[in-house]
């Protein structure tokens, strides 16, 4: 049966089905069993599976990550959640030194099947320490898989695949996606890790995007269509390992590339993708590649500052058209006048 679920509901259902399917799976996280249930993603799990399999944790991110690793190498499959990616940095030592290297440093004798969910976001005054987008830091470390679903369908399928994977997976969710719906099959299914997905076909330019920027890219593609530009969108889904074949195929076809990332620009995902495309497809590029990302600054808090800090569909469309030597019709910019840009939609009223 297929029906509409929100991204948060899809993540919840993925965990329910994995807890049902494998007694070694357990869910741990600050607030995992609390009334808010990590933005709804863990609501009801404790009631269903008990406090031995769904439990809270002390504010000890590093030790709890190490604990999860130790349990994973002895047969368990932990799903560890951080309500903000910023909190997970306290566990960088265990993630980078132990989880990422355990399989390699012991020559494949034991692996670390652990999923670490981390939440990124933008707007509503989350500010410098509650809205970083640090996928590049994790993707830079060999031995970690980094997954960033954009749709409810992929959120469920990729979370199931991540829990079933034998390796450490950093699973990054964007808060502005939690309320978005898509068609989600009821049965347990998995989407392959390490595979991009062409979510809109086009012929003139390729936008390679991830997570929430895929949603903005879809909006941008409508604006571009209005300007007569046919846009292909490749949703990355798995930042590492990255599915270069799908990206190369699309960029070879269109000859133009724009990368839309949720992170800051320098030394990040967009730079890596552009570098690889230039290295491999130099002769096929019709214009120099472009990228949309955050400025190389911490996220400001004030809603007036956030407005210019976080890029949107109009920014993507404007930049995409620049590679054709054109400008975006001003009507698209006018649409934003009077619209609050620090919230995902008008239903959102805070507080976090």
């Amino acid at each position: 049966m297929i029906r509409t679920l929100t991204y948060a509901e899809a993540l919840n259902e993925a965990q329910v089905q994995c807890l049902e399917a494998d007694e070694n799976v357990y869910v741990i996280g600050l607030g995992a069993p609390d009334p808010k249930g990590i933005f709804g993603t863990t609501i009801g799990l404790r009631e269903k599976f008990g406090s031995d399999r769904v439990f809270d944790m002390p504010i000890s991110e590093n030790a709890v990550t190490g604990m999860a690793i130790g349990s994973a190498i002895t047969g368990m499959r932990p799903v560890l959640s951080h309500q903000r990616i910023d909190f997970a940095i306290a566990a960088m030592e265990q993630i980078v030194n132990q989880a990422a290297k355990w399989y390699f440093m012991f020559a494949g004798q034991s692996s670390v099947p652990i999923v670490i969910r981390m939440i990124i976001g933008r707007g509503w005054g989350q500010g410098p320490q509650h809205s970083q987008s640090l996928q590049a830091m994790f993707a830079h470390v060999p031995g970690l898989k980094v997954v960033m679903p954009a749709t409810a369908h992929d959120a469920k399928g990729l979370l199931i695949a991540s829990i079933e994977d034998n390796n450490p997976v950093i699973f990054i969710e964007h808060r502005w996606l939690y309320g978005l719906n898509s068609l989600v099959p009821q049965e347990k299914y998995s989407e392959p890790l390490g595979r991009c997905k062409v979510i809109r076909e086009g012929t003139d330019i390729t936008i390679v995007s991830l997570s929430y920027m895929t949603i903005e890219s879809l909006r941008a593609a409508d604006m571009l269509e209005d300007s007569g530009v046919s846009t292909e969108i490749v949703d990355i889904r798995t930042v590492s390992p990255l599915d270069w074949d799908t990206i190369f195929e699309s960029v070879s076809k269109t000859g133009r590339l724009l990368v839309a990332d949720t992170g800051t620009m320098s030394f990040g995902v967009s730079g890596e993708i552009i570098a690889k495309c230039v290295e491999n497809l130099y002769g096929k590029l019709k214009s120099s590649p472009n990228r949309i990302s955050l400025p190389d600054l911490p996220s400001p808090t004030s809603s007036s500052l956030a407005k210019t800090y976080f890029p949107r569909a109009v920014d993507i469309a404007e930049l995409a058209l620049s590679s054709f030597g054109r400008n975006l019709d001003k009507k698209w910019w006018k649409l934003e006048e009077g619209v609050r840009l620090d919230i995902p939609n008008t239903n959102f009223t805070g507080p976090f």
Partner: protein, 329 residues
């Protein structure tokens, strides 16, 4: 009654033998290190053998062990394969980590020596995680984390102690207190008023201290902690005083470089865990000079064979090292 007595004597003999075996291995590594064929750091445990041996004697094969950079003794005492360890130190195929690890990354899953890694404090929570598995899966196993006095200064140590206490996990924290964190003394690192035993007790965890150079004392302290953990009594912390004879890393003595004195070293050398136990066993007529010679020559032969094996092994293929990043589904 006669059987009990002979079992007890055999047990004592084995404690001694295992210490001598580790000492022989470590001394031989020190002798051969200058050949420049062991091309990785080595942290020798000479002077600290009683802890590895006393702790391991209280464990079963199914019990999990994790360690840090100074792990040779812990690995061998748990039953880790000597040839695989030497091949690993020589960076060869057949090494316990196929050359990806070296001296600081020992593993032997056949005896549940789960892994040693050199970031100070870093395997403490991992050991707690294995204890979590043991509890959830009702394995009736305990998990041991070995670490030094420096590790008790890390945040993750206290986080791990708190987590283990909160979840009442069967984990034994073994602190080998050898006074120095590399070359840094206690005075440089901790307040004179700091009391780690009370700190750990403050987390609600059973906490003990003992003479780390007395192998039977180590065994007895560990055994009661293990029994308590198996019966659902939760974690224990045991601080054991000892002394590292050689330099922090490498084969040499370093009493002349200025961070500690020759007098201090001599004082601890006089408390050698092997000599002390040998004296006791001699007085009981268990040990003799002749038996020592026989045992020493046996262990030296075993070690030389292991070195010979390591040297004769090929180097690992580059291809394997570069593909061992992810486990296939």
């Amino acid at each position: 009654m006669m059987i009990d007595q002979s079992v007890r004597l055999e047990f004592k003999q084995n404690l001694y033998n295992e210490m001598l075996r580790i000492r022989t291995v470590e001394e031989r590594i020190a002798e051969l290190y200058s050949e420049q064929e062991m091309r990785c750091p080595v942290h020798l445990c000479i002077g600290q053998e009683a802890i590895a041996v006393g702790v391991s004697a209280a464990l079963q094969n199914r019990d999990y062990v994790f360690s840090g950079h100074r792990a040779h003794g812990h690995y061998l005492a748990k039953g880790g394969n000597l040839k695989a360890m030497m091949a690993e130190i020589y960076g060869k195929e057949g090494g316990c980590s196929q050359g990806n690890g070296g001296s600081m990354h020992l593993i032997d899953l056949s005896v549940n020596f789960m892994g040693s890694t050199p970031i100070v404090g870093s395997t403490i929570p991992v050991a707690v995680g294995a204890a979590f598995t043991a509890k959830i899966k009702k394995q009736h196993a305990v998990s041991v984390a070995y670490f030094g006095d420096g590790a008790t200064e890390t945040g993750v140590f206290h986080e791990s102690i708190n987590f283990a206490a909160t979840q009442n996990l069967p984990v034994i924290f073994i602190c080998e207190d050898n006074f120095y964190s590399v070359y840094s003394s206690f005075e440089e690192r901790q307040s004179a008023n700091r009391d780690i035993i009370k700190l750990v007790q403050g987390h609600g965890v059973n906490s003990f201290e003992g003479d780390g150079n007395n192998v039977e004392e180590v065994f007895n302290l560990t055994l009661s902690a293990v029994n308590r953990a198996r019966e659902g009594g939760g974690p224990s912390f045991i601080k054991l005083l000892t002394y590292r004879w050689r330099e922090h890393c490498g084969p040499n003595y370093d009493n002349d470089i200025g961070y500690r004195t020759e007098a201090e070293f001599l004082q601890w050398q006089a408390k050698c865990p092997l000599k002390a136990y040998e004296t006791i066993l001699m007085s009981m007529n268990i040990m003799s000079d002749a038996l020592y010679q026989k045992l020493f020559s046996e262990y030296l032969t075993e070690m030389n064979n292991a070195v010979q094996y390591a040297k004769s092994q090929p180097f690992p293929s580059i291809k394997n090292a570069f593909t061992d990043i992810f486990s296939a589904q």
